[in-house]
């Protein structure tokens, strides 16, 4: 049977790097049963033993203040893990050992990993790992998750830690905790432990429960209420009433315990440059925002350059392969229907998937590097004021901004947010932010129909996006991020790190490959459906199913100002932004075969001319508005589904944007009828 390793650590402890490097492609992402928190699991084997790695949600401690923390705690209490691997940042040892201090009193086998030893050493910090190991009574390893060469030692240590499980010694922390309420005759900790009697909560010792009671932990309080007889319950309440600020006292005790460990195991060297010139600029109220903006523009440009080869391959290969297939089909005497299917669904779908995923890759890669360097935290800091008005954490700026590049990539980026509510709300906002392709389509339409007035549409578009944020925050924000759960920014700005390029490229490559495989399946399926609906053996548009459906629903779609051709293009925009232009090329310009399908990526040269001639201004207005707030491409929707893990939420967000875009189309059309 596989041995189970649980990874526990604060944000920025390098947990995800370790998880990814251990498990590579053997990962499974789902939700914790009955919860909305993501559960990531992976597998690897070492020396013939199978290991299952559970990546616990990142949290600062083991309190019960968020769903993530509750999930983490319940899992550890359940005793399912054969080893809990606790990661701390060696360069900020004292602070990050808090997680370990919060863990003391839980009877689970532990191994402590002092991650980022390279950073600590570079700053002149010397840590005596053996001395820490002796004090704690569990295996301790100096490590750097980003350096491949360190993994053999890690795996050996892990193997031994699983074979010979050891538990944290709680004696020293107990002593510190007993000092709470020093002016009292008897220590509140003792009194609490006594009052608790034989109560059990998973594998936690009474000391741990007493600490959580002192910290006014809701779940432990409830458990005590449910399980203790009346008299004992009263005793507990009385003791707690006498202590007062218990949470602060236990916190002080834990840091005293940490200090004693660190003091004797580390040299006291203050890091020299904690807040340099760059930090002063990056965190400046105005300069910081400008600086961030410049960096982001550069980052987006870098994304485009990185995506270029993939885009080139995808777009370039499509016509090449398609003409090859046509020639081969002709020489083999294959049925036209087969050739059409292969070309439009298989070849077209694969090429477009290559294009889209190359964008995702570059976005994830570039932003991952910014995060690794430590710049992301500064960026979040600079924009926290703005985002907190929406109830979002400053960290949301990264996914929101990268949405300008590629929505699907940005969706993956929302993972940096700590709570489910924050993530969902950021996703809702993100869908309104146009990706590069959407911007191109909207600008093309605006300049086609309204010529020199196009810049006003661009400005109006930006204004509408902000208006939609406001609407979303009324409809979703208040519910997803309740007022009483909004905690202002309390965040560390990690020191700058040198990025480990290769490692990041490998990690991002792996996750992109995962996305590509899923995307390919999805895109081929959707393309096949579209193809089936729009195939006519004689090439006559009027003989396609799509034509019939389109005509049948035209009375309804005209309500939103869209004749059936435009409505089908609108639907095509849900597949990819380019597809809506491709479909228009076929429907209005009659180029290509009966129906150029969703996989068609290019608009024909004179599309603009034809459109301007055929479509009235009010209709154009309707279609333009509808395109602005149409849902993102199929890949972005797929990644959103993967992130939220619930079809209900995907459907809700889709419904919201379809309603919003059609509503705007309706308004645009009727205003247009009045004006023009």
């Amino acid at each position: 049977m596989a041995k189970t390793i649980a990874l526990l650590g604060q944000p920025n402890s390098g947990k995800s790097t370790l998880f990814n490097n251990l498990t590579g492609l053997h990962q499974r992402v789902g939700n914790w049963p009955g919860k909305t928190v993501e559960r990531a699991e992976g597998f690897f084997s070492y020396n013939g033993v199978e290991y299952k790695v559970v990546d616990l949600p990142g949290s600062y401690g083991l309190s019960a203040n968020s769903e993530e923390e509750v999930v983490t705690r319940n899992y550890i209490h359940g005793g399912e893990a054969d080893l809990v691997c606790i990661l701390v940042d060696a360069s900020q040892l004292e602070r990050s050992l808090y997680m370990l201090a919060d863990f003391v009193g839980i009877r689970a086998p532990v191994m402590l990993v002092l991650n980022m030893m390279d950073v600590a050493e570079a700053s002149g910090k010397k840590i005596d790992v053996e001395s820490i190991e002796k004090k704690l009574g569990v295996p301790v390893l100096g490590f750097s998750a980003a350096e491949t060469k360190r993994y053999p030692v890690f795996l050996r240590t892990l193997e031994l830690a699983v074979k010979f499980p050891r538990f944290l010694d709680s004696g020293e922390l107990q002593k510190e905790l007993e000092e709470i309420g020093e002016n009292k005759v008897e220590s509140p900790l003792h009194l609490l432990e006594e009052a608790l009697g034989e109560i059990k909560l998973g594998n936690s010792e009474k000391m741990w429960l007493a600490v959580k009671l002192l910290e006014n932990d809701k779940l432990v309080r409830q458990a005590v209420k449910d399980n203790l007889p009346f008299a004992r319950r009263n005793a507990v309440e009385t003791i707690l009433g006498n202590v007062g600020d218990g949470g602060i006292a236990t916190g002080e005790a834990k840091y005293r315990w940490i200090y004693k460990i660190v003091k004797e195991s580390c040299n006291e060297k203050a890091p020299d440059k904690v807040f340099g010139k760059w930090d002063r600029i990056a965190t400046h109220r105005i300069k910081g925002k400008i600086f961030s903006f410049v960096i982001m523009v550069v980052a987006l440009l870098a994304c485009m350059i990185l995506a270029f080869p993939g885009m080139g391959i995808g777009f370039g290969l499509q016509p090449l392969l398609q003409s090859l297939v046509e020639k081969a089909g002709a020489s083999l005497g294959a049925w036209p229907v087969v050739v059409s299917f292969v070309n439009n669904v298989l070849v077209g779908g694969t090429c477009i998937t290559v294009c889209m995923t190359s964008f995702i890759f570059s976005i994830i890669f570039v932003f991952r590097i910014l995060e690794e360097i430590g710049y992301m935290a500064r960026f979040s800091y600079a924009f926290d004021n703005w985002l907190s008005r929406l109830g979002l954490h400053g960290k949301a700026i990264m996914p929101l901004f990268s949405g300008i590049g590629c929505t699907a990539g940005a969706v993956c980026g929302t993972r940096v947010l700590d709570t489910r509510g924050q993530r969902l709300f950021a996703l809702v906002l993100l869908w309104a932010i146009p990706c590069g392709s959407k911007v191109a389509v909207v600008l093309f339409l605006a300049s086609t129909f309204f010529g020199s007035a196009a810049p006003f549409f661009a400005i109006g578009y930006v204004a509408l996006i902000f208006l939609s944020f406001w609407l979303s925050s009324i409809l979703f924000g208040k519910k997803l991020i309740p007022e009483n759960e909004r905690v202002g920014m309390i965040m560390e700005l990690p020191p700058y790190h040198k990025p480990h390029w290769k490692m990041i490229a490998a990690m991002v490559g792996r996750s992109t490959w995962g996305i590509f495989k899923k995307a390919l399946k999805m895109i081929l399926m959707v393309a096949a459906v579209f193809w089936a609906l729009s195939y006519a053996s004689d090439g006559n548009v009027e003989n396609t199913i799509l034509y019939r459906i389109g005509n049948a629903i035209e009375p309804v779609t005209m309500f939103f100002g869209m004749r059936w051709e435009l409505f089908i293009s609108y639907l095509g925009g849900m597949f990819s932004k380019e597809a809506s232009l491709g479909i228009m090329s076929t429907l209005f310009n009659h180029t290509g075969e009966a129906f150029s399908l969703v996989t068609r990526v290019a608009a024909s040269d004179n599309l603009g001319e034809v459109l301007a001639k055929t479509i009235s201004k009010p209709e154009a207005l309707a279609f333009l508005f509808a395109s602005m707030f149409n849902v993102p491409c199929v890949l972005a929707m797929g990644t959103t589904y993967r992130e939220v893990g619930a079809i209900k939420w995907l459907a809700t967000i889709m419904g919201y944007y379809i309603a919003l875009s059609l509503g705007l189309g309706f308004i645009g059309y009727h205003i247009g009828l009045l004006i023009f």
Partner: protein, 82 residues
């Protein structure tokens, strides 16, 4: 002790580049657990790196640069070291 308490001011009122130590943390247990888990406890000494009146305050404590939102700053009292 009394006298020292009088001199305690909120984090947001401190000048840049001044040092001090935390005198008191006020707030509900949720806030306290959050602020303690990031490393600020009564008695811990720190340097105030940034306080420009609007953005979150930046303090350096336990080898870490920590950003604390303005509203939350008023719940953290500190004694300034001369």
């Amino acid at each position: 002790m009394q006298e020292e308490n009088i001199r305690a001011i909120s984090l947001g009122e401190m000048g840049e580049n001044s040092s001090g130590n935390i005198a008191k943390i006020e707030g509900d247990s949720r806030f306290i657990s959050r602020i303690i888990s990031i490393g600020l406890t009564p008695g811990s000494s720190f340097t105030l790196l940034k306080n420009d009146g609007r953005s979150p305050v930046l303090v350096f404590c336990r080898d870490t640069v920590i950003a604390v939102n303005r509203r939350e700053c008023s719940q953290i009292l500190a004694r300034v070291e001369k």
